[in-house]
Symmetry: C2
Subunit: 460 residues, 2 copies
């Protein structure tokens, strides 16, 4: 029997004690239902384990076990000393690809590059078809890709700030595919990975699916701090760290050289697996060296070739430390079996072609042009991010939350993504939204969208 009566003490959550199901299981279920049902709001502090245990007349460990289930689902986030909180990173609708039913919306939500390579691709295709060996590309391929394809990739990746070798390359069908393979191949349910407090939602959903806990790392000057990282290594036992050093999604922040070196050093000293997502590194004409350059044996680098050069071709490379190569190869094999040799060949030829530099440059120009329009419409002091970045981070006036703004914008016909979509853990996300400047089909559409956003901001 409970010793104290808690009827006088306000408890933020009062679960029922079940009779049929296992206790820990039933508690986890109730908690999940109450979070989903809005009974428990993000940021809510839950009662201490011992208090709950006392209230239900069970042992502390039973509470621990119940809460662990929810933590692996990304619903809770706790710290010794301060307590357990409901996470902000609930992701009801996280779809990042274009909705089919929303042609009436100005789309500035999901990240779409806008590069027109149609003519070049057609030209390349015609050449390929005419070659005598074309038929071979329609059979099953080997899983590795061939030598010249890798060399072409290496040449391109060098431009993104990482100089590597062919024996470390493993092809994947796009950056998200690479992330999924890395998380399944190198991590297991219950493992923890550090991230920025706001991070790419594709990592959030995948980690959630696999039961991997994401731990937000404390920042300083908008990037991961040494103290925060060390703290997470020591106290949260993180096994890996996911970062996007160039034009971080969604904050657009580019990590300093010293920050990169610090992460490399810390990774080596604490045997961390750094997952470095180079998704946007190619946008930069003069990128800083990748973290992988400083710690190649502790960094898995993701080079997404589809973004600028060959959109829609679904080709990325994982550049693996030698120690993890076979695990990663196996994981990619388990997920994909093999890539389409035809598509790989086509994408590789595009990458290796003479026009590749001009394609990239053209894309940069287009992005700058669009951003000029964005700068024109939106107030400078609220708009974060350089003109080369294909998305911007828009801070909101007082009394808006990102979520509210997203909804209002949607009602006004413009899709943007609120900061809540990117939030990891219990910390309240800032009032901000991400706007993808290259997503609207035309300049006119972009203008329409910006006008709506401008009006919404001025209203408050």
């Amino acid at each position: 029997m409970p010793i104290n009566s808690f009827e006088n003490y306000p408890m933020s959550w009062k679960p029922q004690k079940p009779t049929d199901k296992p206790l820990y299981f039933a508690l986890a279920d109730q908690l999940e239902a109450d979070i989903a049902g809005g009974v428990l709001l993000p940021g809510t502090k839950l009662p201490p384990y011992r208090e709950l245990a006392d209230y239900l007349d069970v042992n502390v460990s039973t509470i621990t076990r119940a809460f662990k289930v929810c933590k692996q689902k990304g619903l809770l986030s706790g710290t010794i000393g301060s307590g357990t909180f409901v996470s902000y990173d609930t992701t009801p609708d996280n779809c990042m690809t274009r909705r089919t039913d929303s042609s009436f919306l100005v789309e500035m939500g999901p990240i779409f590059p806008r590069s027109n390579t149609t003519e070049d691709v057609i030209c390349m295709l015609k050449k390929m078809i005419a070659e005598p060996d074309f038929g071979k590309l329609l059979q099953y391929g080997n899983s590795e890709g061939n030598a010249w394809q890798k060399e072409a990739a290496i040449k391109l990746i060098r431009k993104a700030g990482y100089d590597t070798t062919a024996d470390r390359l493993i092809p994947a069908t796009g950056g998200q595919n690479a992330i999924a393979a890395i998380l399944t191949g190198l991590f297991r349910t219950g493992d923890r990975i550090g991230t920025d407090p706001l991070t790419y939602p594709g990592v959030k959903t995948t980690a959630k699916m696999l039961g991997i806990e994401l731990i937000p790392i404390q920042q300083e000057n908008d990037e991961i701090s040494e103290a925060g990282l060390l703290h997470a290594c020591k106290n949260e036992h993180i096994k890996g760290l996911y970062i996007m050093p160039d034009y971080q999604n969604p904050t657009t922040h580019t990590m300093s050289l010293s920050g990169r070196k610090m992460i490399a050093k810390t990774a080596k000293e604490n045997n961390l697996i750094v997952i470095e997502d180079g998704a946007h590194s190619m946008l930069n004409a003069n990128p800083l060296p990748a973290v992988a350059s400083f710690a190649p044996e502790h960094t898995v680098y993701i080079a997404s070739l589809s973004k600028t050069v060959a959109p829609g071709f679904r080709l990325a490379y994982v550049i693996s430390p030698l120690q993890y190569k076979s695990l990663l190869s196996d994981a990619l094999y388990n997920i994909n079996l093999s890539l389409s040799p035809f598509l790989t060949e086509l994408a590789s030829r595009m990458i290796a072609s003479e026009s590749v530099d001009s394609i990239i440059e053209e894309h940069r120009q287009l992005t700058k042009n669009r951003n000029r329009l964005v700068n024109h419409y939106l107030p400078k002091h609220l708009l974060i991010g350089p003109d080369e970045c294909i998305f911007r981070w828009l801070l909101l006036p007082e009394n808006y939350t990102g979520k509210e703004f997203e909804k209002l914008a949607q009602q006004a016909g413009v899709q943007v993504y609120a900061s809540e979509r990117f939030a990891v853990g219990k910390a309240k996300p800032p009032a901000a939204v991400r706007i993808v400047v290259t997503a609207p089909e035309t300049m006119d559409e972009l203008r329409t969208g910006l006008e709506v956003l401008k009006k919404l901001i001025s209203n408050k």
Copy 2:
């Protein structure tokens, strides 16, 4: 302190008690190392939990926990009453795609279809390139695929024995990709899935990676028996069942109508998720109805379109019960983001084209022709499987194990796959190998391979 001295009792495994690491962890590690190192051979019976606990002077539960880790890795397999055994399903080299360095080998190991559609594809490509909307196929696609593509797929899947609707279809990049998505989306670490005692290795490796335990189901007349399935539901708490009803890999068995109905019925009654792999269903000109036909709300059907019609195009469809649709869509999104719209369009057009029937028929003829040659070389009483199947199951004479035979064949220049590669759990796999008759590039190569196999069989 241990009460008894076990020095007089032979214990099949005597672990060290560690001092530094956690007990359960260290024990799991030792066990894994000893299995990998050959100290513990497949089939070995380990000491009972209580005996080990007594010997190490720890609690039974500690042993349970240590062994659980290994079970999730597929290394152990235990039953109440009979004890714990080292599994046969160790998979050192399970790569099913063509090796790059083995052009000197006659390849009859991995499953390659051999269908020549080059001319048709070139024709289709030329048409597509000329169309004004071609450029759209090079952008990011929506994740769902469009309506006519789905209709084309449905028409084809109907020929494989399952009549379904477009709202259940989710595209994937090939059958293995579909399996990975189903296992990550609908199952979690620690869940159990029933399989045939010999099953497709792609499921084995993926399950192992995800910590999902595969439970072999007892058979009767070469297919899963009702008693065996019920037993696994009740006692092993399986949450799913993986089956390949047509030309089962590797035994070539095609499941009876009553077997299909039994599985559908049992799945409904026990709320099982049946994963029905239709990989080879299209090989059959008159297939029986799919299990999914009898239990559409409990069966996730995998329709692999790449195998016969569009090899190398990496297109498959997951046909999902409505209750699991969003979980599976999310999982495929997390793994792939989206498919290449270009490749999907190309493959879909091939599937929808008028020549699709003749392509399939041609492939069937080719397979039959090759199998006639196989029948000619190998003894009838050892050779399992119909002439329409692209692989055969070769029983071996006494004193061979599959593994030994595979090795000898390899040394003689022929690659086949031993039964051990397909084995699940502790049961000793039969002495047999799988030979893929469509894998060799030419008829001559096939003949060369068969001559080698024939000689090896006669020698003993």
